[in-house]
Symmetry: C2
Subunit: 296 residues, 2 copies
C-alpha cells in the first residue's frame, strides 16, 4: 500500500489509482450510544484525513455480520472498521471469526473493542478484564458477598468482563455462583421488570456490562424501596449520558472509547499512508468514574 | 430518473449506469441520540432497498454544513439526506439555505425535520409547533403562570417550538416574557448549573426542546429541593432513553422520528424508482408521552 494523492472524482480514483479514499465502517446498531460515539470519533478523524465513510449497520446475527462484511468489501474500500465486540465471535464456535480473517486477505480490518488474531487484522480494546476485576475486588473489600454480574451478550467484551469478575471472586475465596450471573437485555425497563420476577434472588451489589443494564437495576431498587448505595451498590459500564441522567448518578467504568478510536485511526493512517508495521493488538486501561451508586 | 438494476461493482455502476445506488446522509453530530436513531432507521431501510450510505457529520457551523454538502455531491450520490433542523437555517439570514437549493439542482435533497422550500427539496417534519402549543396550553389550564421555555438553538425546529409556546401564552392572555425564554446547551450538567446561577428567576414549569435540557432542569430541582411535579412540572422532547432513565421519569413529546424516516425513504424510492411526483412537504403530528414529571 502506498500514499495516494487526493482526487475529487470518485471514478478517476476508482479506476486510475489504488485508493478510493473510502473506509467502510460496520457496527451492529448505530442507535446504541456507544457505537454512535465511536462512529462520531471515527468519521471526524477520517474526514480530517480526507477519507469518506460508508456506514453499515449489520445487526447482531452471525449471517448478517458476514453478509455486511462481504457487501462492504465489494465497494473497494481502503480499510474496514468493525465497531463493537460482537464481531469477535461468541466463543461457542471458533469458526465464527473466519469471515474476518478472510476479509483481511482483501483489505486491512480494524476492530474496535473486539479481538481476533489474524494477518492484516488490527485490534484496539479496552482492558475490560482488569476494570471488572478491580471494581469487583473493591466491592468485596467493602464487605459485599453477593455480587450480581449483569450482562446482555456473549461478546468478546462481555467475556472479558465476566472473566474479571470470576477472577476477583476466586482470589477472595468466594464461590463463582451461576445464579449470580444474570443475563438480560441492554434496556432499562426490561431489566427492571426481569429483576422483579426473580423473587428469591438475593444480592447486595451489581456489576453491569452497560449503563443501560445498571440503570435497570437502579429502577428495580426504586420499585422495591432498596436504598442505593447503602443496601445495594451498582456499577455501570461505558460512562454514558445515562450515568449522569439517572438518580442517584451512576458509578461507571469509562471504557476509553475515544482512545480506542484515536489509536485505530492513527494506526490506519500509518499503515495506509506510510506502509508502516503496526501492532496487531493494543489494550487500553479503563477508569472508574465514581458517582453516587457506590461508597467508593 | 429511472430504476436501475442492482450491479455489485461500484465502477461498473458509476460508469455504465445512471445510479451508484448510494445515498449521502449528513447530520451535525451522530453521537446525538436523535440523529443516531434517524441514521439507524435510514440505513436499515436503504440497505433493504439495495442502497449504500455515505455518512458525513458536519457539525453545526454554516460553512461546515455547506462544505460537507459540496463534498457529498462530488461523490455522485443518488440523493442527499440532511438529518436535523439545523440545515434549514437560523432565520437570521435568508440566504442560509441557498446551498440546499443549489445542491438540489444536482441531486434530490431530503430533509428530516427541517423545512426549506425549493425545487427538488423534500421535507418531512414533526409538527413541533402544535405539540409545544398543546403542552403549554395544558400547563396553563393546570394553573401554571410562569412557564420557562428552555432551548439550545435557533434551528427550524426550535423556532417552531417557540412559536407554539408563544401562541399558547398569547391565547391565554399571558404576556410572552423574554426572561422566561432560557437558552442553554443540550447537556444535563451544563443546564443544571446554568439554572443554579439565575437566583432570581422564578418559574413553576418547564417546556424544553430536548430531553437532555429537561433532565438538566430536573437535576436543578433535585439540588434545590423542589418537588417534581408538585412544585415544578417538566416536559422534555424526543422521548429518548433519558426520559426513562431519569427519576422521576420524564413526560416527553414523541417527535415521531421513525415516521419521518419512513416517509423520507418511501418518497425517495417512489421518486428514484418510479419517477413519481411526491409532496415537497409532509408534517407529522407528535404525541405527548405522559410520565411522572407532570400531573397530566
Amino acid at each position: 500500500m502506498r500514499e495516494n494523492e487526493y482526487t475529487p472524482n470518485v471514478f478517476a480514483r476508482g479506476l486510475g489509482l489504488d485508493s478510493m479514499k473510502t473506509v467502510g465502517i460496520i457496527c451492529p446498531n448505530i442507535s446504541d450510544h456507544y457505537m454512535a460515539r465511536a462512529v462520531a470519533y471515527l468519521e471526524e478523524s477520517l474526514h480530517e484525513n480526507g477519507y469518506d465513510c460508508i456506514l453499515g449497520c449489520s445487526g447482531y446475527k452471525q449471517e448478517e455480520r458476514e453478509s455486511y462484511v462481504k457487501l462492504m468489501l465489494s465497494k473497494r474500500i481502503d480499510t474496514l472498521v468493525l465497531v463493537g465486540s460482537s464481531y469477535a465471535g461468541s466463543s461457542r464456535n471458533e469458526f465464527d471469526t473466519d469471515y474476518i480473517r478472510e476479509a483481511a486477505e482483501t483489505t486491512p480490518v480494524f476492530m474496535i473493542n473486539g479481538r481476533v488474531d489474524g494477518k492484516n487484522v488490527y485490534c484496539a480494546c479496552a482492558d475490560d478484564y482488569h476494570a471488572t476485576y478491580e471494581v469487583t475486588t473493591k466491592l468485596i473489600k467493602r464487605g459485599k458477598k453477593k455480587i450480581l454480574f449483569m450482562y446482555d451478550s456473549d461478546s468478546f467484551s462481555a467475556r472479558q468482563k465476566m472473566a474479571g469478575y470470576d477472577a476477583a471472586l476466586s482470589e477472595a475465596g468466594y464461590p463463582v455462583r451461576g445464579d449470580l450471573k444474570f443475563k438480560t437485555k441492554n434496556n432499562i425497563e426490561y431489566t427492571r421488570d426481569l429483576l422483579l420476577t426473580y423473587k428469591n434472588l438475593e444480592f447486595d451489589s451489581v456489576v453491569a456490562t452497560d449503563d443501560g443494564i445498571a440503570v435497570g437495576a437502579l429502577k428495580y431498587a426504586k420499585v422495591k424501596g432498596i436504598s442505593v448505595p447503602e443496601e445495594l451498590s451498582i456499577i455501570g459500564y461505558n460512562d454514558s449520558i445515562l450515568a449522569v441522567g439517572c438518580e442517584p448518578e451512576l458509578t461507571s467504568i469509562d471504557s476509553k472509547l475515544a482512545v480506542l478510536c484515536k489509536t485505530t485511526i492513527d494506526h490506519m493512517i500509518r499503515l495506509l499512508g506510510k506502509g508502516e508495521e503496526i501492532e496487531p493488538y493494543v489494550c487500553v486501561p479503563c477508569n472508574v468514574v465514581k458517582r453516587c451508586t457506590t461508597d467508593f
